[in-house]
């Protein structure tokens, strides 16, 4: 039968770095174990296993809701059975970089809501921070436990060029996807147990333990045995599966806004045995919807009075209110400066060069090079509202040009990265598809994570957009232990 490398001849011009195969067509050392196993598999068994995976995901309802689709529609996120493998050495360097980056980001958020040293020093332009829609004046002078604002960060990382890593964005609000990381591993172990007997794959299933530990570490001062809850917008939210999954795995209540109330600046949940005090809320609701008294008055999802209880220090919100200012695309170019300013270190992880279209020079350059660039909305997320120049038609580019000209400050542009690829099952067989990586970084008493993260894969040929809302899939991510 054909081997995985034969069915997937890597173009010798090697426009993209492939995780499995070198430009000359050799299997990279860290994929040897997998490829020799794969070559011994019959295609029929592989097909059967892939169908089994679909059926299992469907039956267990591991789905996500798609916005704009018919009401309540649920879809499976396509799961690819070929894992993305990261050698231990590479992971260690990534981990160091992530730890450094998230520390600096937490220090930055604390600073801009307190003394604003970094703004005074002129290292980050003050108006970019203070007039940012994500900057929450309500948070000025509010102390949070351990000075941790982003207890849970999902940092999107891509590999480009000759294989160097870049941070694409820092998700510090309500990053999702960790449940798929765990479910993907469970699925792989169920489908192919023999693979895990042969390869030393670092485990990831203890993530909920680390998460609970982290959430307890940021409880309000003096609370010895904190009650932790997960706050969800409800069962129609696209990430509801994950909310329920994490609550169940941590053994804590999954609450909706209507289950909580505030009395005397303390938060309680309504239980069958009467009100019960809540100390830490892992909230999966955006700032705007948390408290109808403080933010959007039309929010049905939030808890009236929550902000007052929070400001009084009687409850911890994770992540804190107002973290969005630090993962904003207009602040992103300054993260390197934050590392230097707060930690006195050189940043380990690269940023993607970014043109800020509010600057006239950058704007002029971008407008001249739209067909080569990726243009993103500063406040966009989920792969909505972006232009991938090389993959767009003339008409799409012209349409986007008008939108940029109407309000350039809403956009940034970046060179189109040649994202690395990984062999992936597609209709026609196996072919290289672009991938990214979202490790989940937990900050409590110290910074911790499980090795790896969620690998997303763009299933359309040539596509660089990996978001599940845009038809992306996922893979199991292996960090090989030495």
């Amino acid at each position: 039968m054909a081997t995985i490398t034969e069915t997937n001849p890597v173009p010798t011009n090697a426009r993209f770095f492939d995780e499995m195969n070198t430009a000359s067509g050799d299997v990279r050392a860290h994929y040897n174990g997998y490829v020799s196993w794969f070559d011994g598999m019959s295609p029929e068994r592989m097909t059967r296993k892939r169908q089994e995976a679909d059926a299992l995901f469907h039956r267990s309802g591991i789905t996500f809701a798609v916005y704009g689709d018919e009401a309540g529609a649920e879809r499976l996120i396509p799961f690819d059975v070929i894992p993305r493998v990261i050698p231990a050495l590479e992971w260690r360097a990534l981990a160091d970089g992530l730890r450094q980056r998230v520390k600096a980001l937490n220090a930055f958020i604390h600073d801009i809501y307190h003394d604003q040293e970094i703004l005074k020093a002129g290292r980050v332009p003050a108006e970019q921070v203070l007039s940012n829609a994500q900057y929450r004046p309500e948070m000025q002078g509010v102390d949070v436990p351990n000075n941790i604002y982003a207890a849970i960060a999902g940092v999107d990382i891509v590999r480009a060029g000759a294989g160097e890593f870049y941070v694409l964005e820092d998700n510090l609000r309500v990053p999702s996807g960790v449940s798929y990381m765990i479910e993907n591993r469970k699925m792989m172990m169920r489908l192919f147990p023999e693979l895990f007997a042969k390869n030393r794959v670092a485990p990831v299933e203890h993530y909920p333990d680390l998460l609970l530990d982290t959430l307890r570490a940021v409880a309000p001062k003096g609370v010895l045995d904190p009650t932790v809850v997960v706050l969800t917008p409800g069962s129609f939210n696209s990430a509801y599966f994950e909310h329920a999954f994490l609550a169940q795995q941590m053994g804590v209540e999954l609450v909706e806004g209507q289950d909580l109330f505030v009395r005397d600046e303390q938060v309680f949940m309504r239980t069958t045995q009467g009100p019960q005090r809540v100390d830490v809320i892992y909230r999966r609701i955006d700032d705007d919807f948390l408290d109808p008294l403080a933010f959007r008055p039309d929010s049905m999802l939030g808890v009236p009075g929550l902000l007052s209880a929070y400001r009084a220090g009687n409850v911890t919100l994770s992540n804190a209110i107002g973290t969005g200012v630090a993962d904003d695309k207009s602040i992103y170019p300054y993260v390197g400066e934050m590392v230097r300013f707060y930690l006195g270190e050189e940043p380990i992880l690269n940023n993607v060069p970014t043109y800020m279209l509010r600057k006239p020079d950058d704007l002029a350059y971008a407008l001249d090079h739209l067909s080569e660039l990726v243009v993103k909305e500063v406040h966009g997320a989920g792969g909505y509202g972006m232009l991938v120049g090389p993959a767009s038609t003339k008409a799409q580019i012209e349409d986007f040009r008008l939108r940029i000209l109407a309000s350039p400050e809403k956009y940034i542009a970046q060179p189109t990265l040649s994202l690395s690829t990984c062999p992936t099952f597609v209709d026609a067989g196996i072919a290289p598809r672009h991938i990214d990586l979202r490790p989940f970084v937990l900050s409590g008493n110290d910074v911790r994570f499980v090795p790896g993260g969620l690998t997303r894969v763009a299933l359309k040929e040539g596509s660089l957009v990996v978001n599940s809302s845009q038809g992306g899939g996922t893979k199991d991510t292996w960090v090989l232990e030495e």
Partner: protein, 315 residues
């Protein structure tokens, strides 16, 4: 536990139980209409069935006031627009389960989810009378599976109590309704030979899975009074009113809170009256009247459970 969680568990169980009992009721009607009888009688059977579950008006509204047996069956079993159909009950059960999936064991969630996915696969417009039989059988099996999986996998905690409360309160209500409509129907039917009557009673017993129990318990021919006794008063018959109310009372005691004293008292009183009741007294009052009063009392307890445990306590 969260009041809202308890509410979803309770209603999830109620909807599954309701779907099962609807399947039983429709199944027994299908059997009853096979007996030689006039068209008017058959029509009356279906009209009373619709009435017993409170959907006669909405049926009339969508069917030009005409009772056509096959249309009634479709309406009660598979009509997506009828909120009381088996289809809608299983959908509601699944929605409630989905809202608290983290509280359910994964086996239980998968059982309910798989039921729903399979139900959606049924081609509703294409289902013939013969396939309906199999469909009712499937609904019952799925309900059995739900109970079995929850019994075998769930922790014996509050979640389990609210789930069982939902099952037994719904079953008590449904048994009372099935018995009421069928008992009347047979009693008021034109006098027929013994064989005809035998089939009527045995169909009723079959519908509540009580035919074999009857044989075991009485070892004698089927009489209306004994049928009523079995379904109302027998403590060892798992679908009887006595059994359901005594289970309800026990689960209520386990979850009791400061507000629930009166609810427990009413439930206990109702259970005791059934436990120590005599069928002669019941029949003297008139079974119909007795069952009507029972349904009112069980609804009252249902409302009290909602306000004691399930509705959000206000600050």
């Amino acid at each position: 536990m969260l009041s809202r969680t308890a509410d979803h568990l309770y209603w999830m169980a109620r909807y599954i139980e309701r779907a099962e009992n609807l399947a039983r009721m429709l199944d027994v009607n299908n059997r009853m209409q096979l007996l030689p009888q006039s068209e008017r009688e058959v029509e009356r059977l279906w009209r009373e069935t619709l009435d017993s579950v409170g959907v006669l008006d909405s049926y009339y509204a969508s069917h030009e006031n005409r009772v056509v047996p096959s249309e009634v069956v479709h309406f009660m079993a598979l009509d997506r627009k009828n909120p009381g159909s088996i289809y809608s009950c299983l959908r509601a059960a699944r929605e409630n389960a989905h809202a608290v999936r983290g509280t359910l064991t994964s086996e239980l969630w998968e059982t309910i989810n798989a039921t729903w996915l399979e139900l959606r696969g049924y081609d509703i417009s294409q289902m013939g009378a013969d396939e309906l039989d199999a469909f009712f059988e499937w609904v019952k099996l799925r309900s059995h599976q739900f109970r079995g999986v929850s019994f075998a996998t769930m922790m014996r905690d509050e979640a389990n109590c609210f789930l069982r409360l939902g099952t037994f309160i719904e079953r008590a209500d449904n048994t009372a309704r099935i018995l009421d409509v069928k008992y009347n129907f047979i009693a008021e039917a034109p006098r027929r030979d013994d064989a005809g009557e035998y089939y009527q009673w045995s169909a009723l017993l079959h519908s509540v899975s009580a035919f074999e129990i009857y044989r075991k318990a009485y070892r004698d021919q089927i009489t209306p009074a004994r049928v009523a006794e079995l379904l109302v008063l027998r403590n060892d018959m798992p679908r009887s009113l006595a059994y359901c109310t005594s289970e309800m009372t026990a689960f209520l005691e386990t979850v009791a809170n400061q507000r629930s004293k009166e609810t427990q008292r009413r439930s206990g009183e109702l259970a005791a009256s059934l436990r120590y009741g005599r069928i002669d007294d019941v029949l003297e009052t008139g079974l119909h009247q007795y069952l009507t009063r029972f349904i009112v009392r069980i609804n009252d307890i249902g409302n009290r459970i909602a306000s004691d445990f399930l509705l959000p306590v206000t600050a």
